[in-house]
């Protein structure tokens, strides 16, 4: 709701500028974002987890997910590594304990509800929302199914309903958004028989985690997974062994997802701003060069033409002169001939002369 309103404001700002732009500038001057105040989260303490899979059962129930192939009380499924899929929002995996081989370690996975979700940053229809309460929710009614969110999520959480032809959805844990907005506990947290899962305000969970680390020296590694990973997540983890021993990646870094693409996104308007100027400039320069070249060659052509014309004219006049001469001679001859003929034929020669006269005019015209 507030986002669409903000968007509307954005339109306004773009259209008219003014006060609204001023407000966004405030936000820009403080580029460090700390997330929604008082947003919720879950602390998962893997030391307290007994691998009972009750959270899986609870999640399945509250989310009306289809029944699994093997029942939830079958603990042998944990012998193979599993991940979240389109019918499972959360999974508990079993790991070898490097310190005490007899007692295995467990780790629950589900969406971590990142503070700066990569999935939301990647989605081109904004199907994901980081809600103020902390949950990252998904809106299937706009999803196109490009699956870029799955590429983007560093924790490999979103799953896709590949076998649906007409309404495939992205499936992932919702932090039980409908329940927590009503003040209830998330299904998995409620189902957990130990203190392995605690729901609460993220700030307080961080305090709680630090306290546990301090209170039980040697029990935990001194790191709260999720405090800073990928810019921080709402789901936090404690562990007795380095996190990579329980299948969690330690090489993700602390850069929030939107920062990974901010540089390129910022370059886009620059390309749009500079390219037309540059390209039109190149075009104009080339056109000018060509004009100059054209003009030069035109000038050359004119000179050549002039010369040719001159030559032609001289030739023509020469030819004309020659023709004149010949003509004069011809006339003379004709006249002579005519006179001779006249002398010979005596009468009725006037008309003959006239005829020849017209003939002459014609030749002149031709020339």
């Amino acid at each position: 709701m507030s986002i669409s309103r903000r968007k509307f404001l954005g339109w306004l700002a773009a259209a008219g500028g003014g006060a609204v732009l001023g407000k966004s500038a405030d936000a820009a001057s403080n580029k460090h974002f700390t997330g929604y105040p008082g947003s919720k989260g879950v602390l998962y303490d893997s030391v307290l987890c007994i691998g009972c899979r009750n959270c899986e059962t609870g999640c399945n129930k509250v989310n009306d997910l289809p029944a699994p192939d093997k029942p939830f009380d079958d603990l042998t499924v944990m012998d193979t590594h599993r991940r979240t899929d389109d019918k499972t929002y959360t999974v508990v995996n079993k790991y070898q304990n490097p310190n005490y081989p007899k007692s295995p370690l467990y780790r629950k996975i589900q969406c971590n509800h990142c503070l700066e979700p990569a999935c939301a940053s990647a989605c081109f229809v904004r199907a994901f929302t980081k809600t103020p309460v902390g949950a990252v929710t998904y809106n299937a009614s706009v999803c196109v199914g490009c699956r870029y969110c799955m590429i983007a999520c560093p924790f490999e959480i979103p799953a896709y309903e590949y076998d649906s032809a007409f309404s495939p959805r992205i499936m992932k844990c919702t932090m039980c958004y409908p329940r927590i907005s009503k003040g209830q506990l998330p299904g998995c947290v409620e189902a957990c028989p130990t203190e392995a899962l605690s729901f609460g305000k993220r700030d307080q969970l961080l305090k709680l985690a630090r306290e546990r680390i301090r209170k039980y020296p040697g029990r935990y590694v001194e790191h709260i997974y999720g405090e800073r990973e990928m810019g921080g997540t709402s789901w936090l983890y404690l562990s007795a062994v380095p996190f990579k021993e329980i299948g969690m990646r330690e090489d993700l870094g602390v850069t929030p997802a939107p920062e990974l693409t901010a540089g390129v996104l910022n370059a886009v308007p620059m390309v749009v701003g500079i390219w037309p100027v540059l390209l039109t400039g190149i075009y104009a320069i080339n056109k000018r060069n060509q004009k100059v070249a054209d003009a030069e060659s035109e000038a050359a052509v004119t000179v050549a033409l002039d010369q040719a014309k001159l030559e032609a004219e001289t030739k023509l006049s020469e030819a004309l002169a020659k023709a004149e001469k010949e003509k004069a001679e011809a006339i003379e001859q004709e006249v002579k001939k005519a006179l001779e003929e006249a002398a010979k034929a005596q009468e009725a020669d006037d008309s003959d002369e006239g005829e020849e006269g017209t003939g002459e005019t014609k030749t002149e015209e031709d020339a």
Binding site: A28, P117, K130, P132, A257, E259, L265, V272, T280
Partner: protein
Amino acid sequence: MEGMLHTLHEFMVYTKGITYILIVLALFGITGFWLFLTGGDEEKK
């Protein structure tokens, strides 16, 4: 809450939304401006 941006993602959605609108305006604008600028040249093919 209202008018405040809490996450970088929201900030990006907001600013990039405006940017895209500006881009469209800029493309039309610069085309128009080029025509205005070269309008005096009178050549046009």
